[in-house]
Symmetry: C2
Subunit: 137 residues, 2 copies
Amino acid sequence: MTATSSTTLENVDDVEVCVERLKLDDRDLIPVIAQDATTRAVLMLAWMNADAFRRTLATRRATYWSRSRQAYWVKGETSGHTQHVREMRLDCDGDTILLLVDQQGPACHTGARTCFDADVVFVDGEGSVDDRGPADA
Amino acid sequence: MTATSSTTLENVDDVEVCVERLKLDDRDLIPVIAQDATTRAVLMLAWMNADAFRRTLATRRATYWSRSRQAYWVKGETSGHTQHVREMRLDCDGDTILLLVDQQGPACHTGARTCFDADVVFVDGEGSVDDRGPADA
């Protein structure tokens, strides 16, 4: 993969080279972090197999593999809460994907903005980082 | 778990209630997203088992389970690039953890700021979201 920061989807000319770079787990899946491209909030973690990765590259709509339903899952196909992928990155050992997305509506099936909104284990004495607004705000 | 946004580490008084909420996978692990509490950059994805979770709660130093080394891994213990955990959240189905951390130095073992810096699959025509600086900047 020779993509650089100036790469656009249109010139990812060898998708299969990218696919071969993915280190899939023993279920042939890779975890995918979806982050809001504007607010930088971490929205959710989901999973892709190789074909969900290809579909996401081809459509720019985040497309995951549902482990519970054992089916492809175009995020927002039912709810309208789609994720348009503006940026896709792999981590240093190729076993995690990061998507920067334009999230339409809430990301969580509960209606929450993110899947991490409801269940706080602890927050330091200054209060939630999120409550303090975006970085540098 | 009845923690709220005003919860501090000191009053997470029933760690085992939190542990029981974790949905561990078939290897008894849970994926953990580490996000920079200041810049909001997603730094890395790592894994915890129940005891790494307990250790992180007790020390506030991000402590993972290394799948390759099959050992606990206090982030930065060797490199000095520690993660002080300011906030810990679970996702809506309890199978992913999000940490908001104060990252000392680079997060990636390669020396990069994050594990997602080097390997860009694609970026839309406007250039990297990250290159445009923090949200609202």
